[in-house]
Symmetry: C2
Subunit: 229 residues, 2 copies
DNA sequence: GACTGATTCAAACGATTGATTAATTCTTGT
DNA sequence: ACAAGAATTAATCAATCGTTTGAATCAGTC
């Protein structure tokens, strides 16, 4: 076991985690082998057991790594206070717009300064896999990380549609998030359908669509002072 | 090899396919073993190679089985002619409503007469897995099956919003389908978030929400002669 | 009843899996 | 310089993987 990790081991740990994220994202938990991961990280496969006490430990560490160092934009937004008092409605509307934009950008590439970053892409693909078929061992970790985002979104929706019940609000949130996550999870098929491997060429166009569609679907007429055509 | 299958072998083939759908849906392609599948089907594991020439062949046969015998409702709708001429708008609106209802019902349980049918549930879970992370070997089969549904939906949307470009219409379709598929793919998390393992108790409530949200998001004011509260 | 081909079976194949061992190298504090 | 412990390595473990083999069983035909 490792009592107090040194600088040297931290490098190896990180290399293993990043290689594991890439490999897990490509092939899934069962499809990825620790030898392949270790080879990618230029490390010995025995170090997986040494550092993470097994393949499952490495997998959990990958999820933690993604949660703590990625998806920062949405996390920041979720920390914002729920809108209250006078002007709460306008504030909630703006927060919802920000949420859609931040979530979409996080989904496409976690690191905005390096849009080619393969790690960010892989991290979101891995998250998507995990959300669809969560392993028993990781569902607790998943819920713990998702909860604040849900609460934040629900807070905004409640201000915008105070007439709706909690269940109806959850349905609204589900529809909004569903568009965004499906957009991310079905990029492969979407590109096939459109016969355009470069889709989406401009993320801003997609964000604007999501925002308009969501606000209309939410039933907020004042968000559209003048219909644009 | 099997030249002309007899009645006896058809039973075994079907048992293997259905057991494979269940197991593949639970554990994924790599996680499921042919011994486990064969045990479930009360058959010998060597029959996988004999009947389907390997594990991959069995997997493809599962997808074909699902496509041909399940999701009938949406397939029927997709065969309906695109609305034209006078009254096309009302027809397209009704077809869109039917599409949302049929798709949601298909997603939840393929066999309406037996809502407890575990095979229908597993089949959709397997499809969801495949759409998110399509195997190279099956993406062609997937596109071939999805294409008519996409075309049908796009035909309706084009009638309802003739002012939009093809890309904008595709975005609309993506948002509508996204809600539905995300609803299906994230049922596990949704139940955790709502602390309600029985969600959704009434599918009709969800269908109505999807319909209302989609029609509003699509920007069809006449679909709501009177806002309900 | 003997023949034929499809189907099923138990057993074993080589390959690969995640995990473990023991020896070695590297790092650090004294 | 030296001991102590962390980090890494090659080699190996038992288990399981998908597949193959060859014989046994079944259903028809003559």
């Amino acid at each position: 076991m490792n009592a107090q990790p040194t600088d040297a081991s931290l490098d190896t740990r990180q290399r293993l985690i990043e290689a594991a994220i890439l490999t897990f994202a490509e092939k899934g938990f069962d499809g990825a082998g620790i030898r392949e991961i270790a080879l990618r990280a230029k490390a010995n496969s025995a170090l997986v057991t040494y550092h993470f006490s097994g393949k499952e430990g490495l997998y959990l560490e990958c999820l933690r790594y993604i949660f703590t160092r990625k998806a920062c934009r949405v996390a920041e937004l979720a920390a914002a206070p729920s809108p209250e008092g006078p002007g709460a409605r306008e504030a909630a509307l703006q927060q919802l717009r920000n949420h859609i934009r931040a979530f979409t950008q996080d989904l496409m590439a976690c690191d905005p300064s390096d849009p080619q970053d393969p790690l960010g892409e892989a991290a979101m693909a891995l998250m998507a896999r995990e959300m669809q078929a969560p392993r028993a061992i990781s569902s607790a970790l998943l819920m713990e990380q998702i909860r604040p985002h849900v609460d934040h979104l629900m807070g905004c929706l409640q201000v915008l549609r105070p007439d709706l019940s909690r269940d109806e609000l959850l349905n609204m949130g589900m529809s909004i998030q569903g568009q965004l996550l499906y957009f991310r999870n079905s990029l492969g098929i979407a590109r096939l359908i459109r016969s355009n491997p470069a889709y989406p060429e401009d993320l801003e166009v997609v964000i604007r669509h999501f925002t308009d569609f969501s606000l209309r679907g939410l039933g907020i007429p004042e968000a559209f002072p003048q219909p644009r055509n």
